[in-house]
Amino acid sequence: MSSAQETILELRQVTKRYQTRGNILGRGKKEVLALNRISLQVRAGEIFGLVGESGSGKTTAGRLIVGLEKPDEGGIFLNGQDIVGLQGKALRRYRRQVQMVFQDPYQSFNPQVSIMDSVGEPLLTQGVAKGVEREQMVLAALKEAGLSPAESYAFRFPHQLSGGQRQRVAIARAMILEPSLLVADEPTSMLDASYSAQIFDLLLGVRGRLGATVLFITHSLASARYLCDRVAVIYRGNLMEIGPAQEVIRNPRHPYTQALLDATPKFGRCEDIPRFNTLLRAERPAADSGVGCGFFRRCGLAQRARCSMEAPEFRAMGEGHLCACHYAEPGPAQADQGGECHLGA
């Protein structure tokens, strides 16, 4: 991917907070920072991976981008146009360009609505096509998604299909308007591994055939490596590292990315596999100031004096490779300490 490509989606300093409900007097309310001043740019035509563990805010990012929720601060721009606060017609127009595939194929279809009507719904609400024309378009979309003969799938209810088939239907539904950006929120986390690969190939096909940009949200570095051109690693609402997928995964600079790589299942004996060992076994007490590095509590490399007091800035580690860590340095990563599988606190 050349860096000369234009930016299709930009997140600028996006912050999203959630309030937990307190008791009747409003006591015990807690604020959860789902996204903390996230900025990133997705280029047209690429598959961009957003990688993080559960609760890291990656799904929130997806929901903000498709306009299901509003950020508390910051702006989201599609082709240079701010989409925060779009309503009514403008929002509907926006949704012709941005569609989403949801994580759980068992929950993302109305059980009372046939596949035909579910997939054809965007055509109807967007006023693109109706009647026979709509049905033909749905059948074509189902075929594109690898469901054939499409006629035999169209007139079924969601519960009559398998998870993998449903996720294909979900992709058909998302792509029927030919959006320029597809947000895929862990589309394979509920599927068997064999099905995952098929879904990945389908997403690659979507990009290749329609030239759509894909924002691929995942917890798995392995699938990000298979699918993505660039990845961003996110931890508890903070961006940690961003760069070309191959580069980030082969040569991770941030201790959190390194810990993620350590956590990826591998074959072989424990001692033989190089590990970074950057993850603390137990969490450290939080930084009092709340201004330090987001990964401070679990980072094996962190120094209290610096990491708990000063948020790290993004620094360039290589060609398009940025990392937010005080102690990251350009150069090859050192993943040679085998042996111990965990580092003590």
Partner: protein, 309 residues
């Protein structure tokens, strides 16, 4: 050619629904409760339909006004009066048939109104949330804690004799909160489901989400509640009539029981006391059994594991 393809699609769509209904019917039929309930209901339905026949045969079989000129007091079953006559020589069998008609009328219409009202208000409260939700649900709570029978009795005492439709309306007005609570809860949980998000991303408007995505998922539940509401409506009407606050112009089973009691035949004329009593019990039981069987159709978790396949 294109025409042909469109026809095929329409046919496929239709067969999809047929299949679904057939599947539901299979589950329903497997349930013995459902079979018994349905059989009983068909029987009562036949009774209601047949209630028009006796007055046509002979005016003395008119349940309200027909009096056998040869009979001055209550008599037991005979060939002329299959279940006997009441104190003034009216045919009990004809009254029983007419009572079935009234029971269906009262039960189904009161339940239908209660369910329509409850579903509309419950969905509104659940979907809108906030102040609307609070106001509607507090109103529902207030109505729910009022003892229906007592309030209706008091109103009847205030306004004199009540018309049967007034009674139906009052039962409906006092019986919607239960439905609306359930519908609201269901709406709240549906609202959080990802397919609603999917519909929003697809560009669906609020009315479309409510009517296309939430309502079809709520309606089966509402219909289930309707069967239980029918039961309670029939019982309330019977109780009112028995206590002497029914519509004096209609022959309902509760009314028959009141006549038995008022004329001092309570334990002297079993042929008069038992039929309406049994009918009230059986019709409420059959609606209840129907509801239970429908419950199983609607909720796959209740289905018998061994026969699921």
């Amino acid at each position: 050619m294109n025409q042909q393809a469109a026809m095929d699609l329409r046919q496929a769509r239709r067969s999809l629904w047929r299949e679904r209904l057939a599947e539901d019917w299979r589950v329903f039929r497997r349930n013995p409760l459902g079979r018994i309930g349905l059989t009983l209901l068909i029987m009562f339905g036949l009774m209601a339909v047949c209630s028009y026949i006796p007055p046509m045969i002979n005016p003395m079989y008119n349940p309200m006004t027909g009096v056998d000129p040869h009979i001055m007091a209550s008599t037991g079953p005979s060939a002329r009066h299959w279940l006997g006559t009441d104190f003034m020589g009216r045919d009990i069998f004809a009254q029983l048939l007419a009572g079935a008609r009234v029971a269906f009328m009262v039960g189904v219409s009161a339940a239908f109104m209660a369910v329509v009202l409850g579903t509309a208000l419950g969905m509104t409260a659940g979907y809108m949330g906030g102040l609307t939700d609070t106001l509607l649900m507090r109103a529902a709570d207030m109505i729910m804690v009022m003892p229906t029978l007592l309030v209706v009795l008091m109103l009847a005492a205030l306004f004199g004799q009540l018309n049967i439709w007034t009674i139906v309306l009052m039962i409906a007005l006092f019986r919607w909160p239960g439905v609306s609570r359930v519908v609201r809860a269901q709406t709240l949980s549906l609202k959080q489901r990802p397919f609603i998000d999917a519909a929003r991303v697809a560009g669906a408007s609020h009315p479309r989400i409510i009517f296309r995505h939430i309502m079809p998922n709520v309606l089966p539940l509402a219909f289930l509640y309707m069967t239980f509401r029918v039961t309670s409506a029939i019982v309330i009407e019977a109780a009112l009539a028995f206590l002497g606050f029914g519509d004096p112009g209609t022959v309902s089973w509760g009314m028959m029981l009141q006549w038995v009691w008022k004329t001092g035949h309570m334990f002297q004329a079993m042929y008069w006391l038992l039929p309406p009593g049994l009918c009230i019990s059986l019709i409420t039981l059959s609606f209840y059994m129907l509801g239970r069987a429908m419950d199983e159709v609607l909720d796959p978790r209740l289905r018998d594991e061994t026969s699921a396949g």
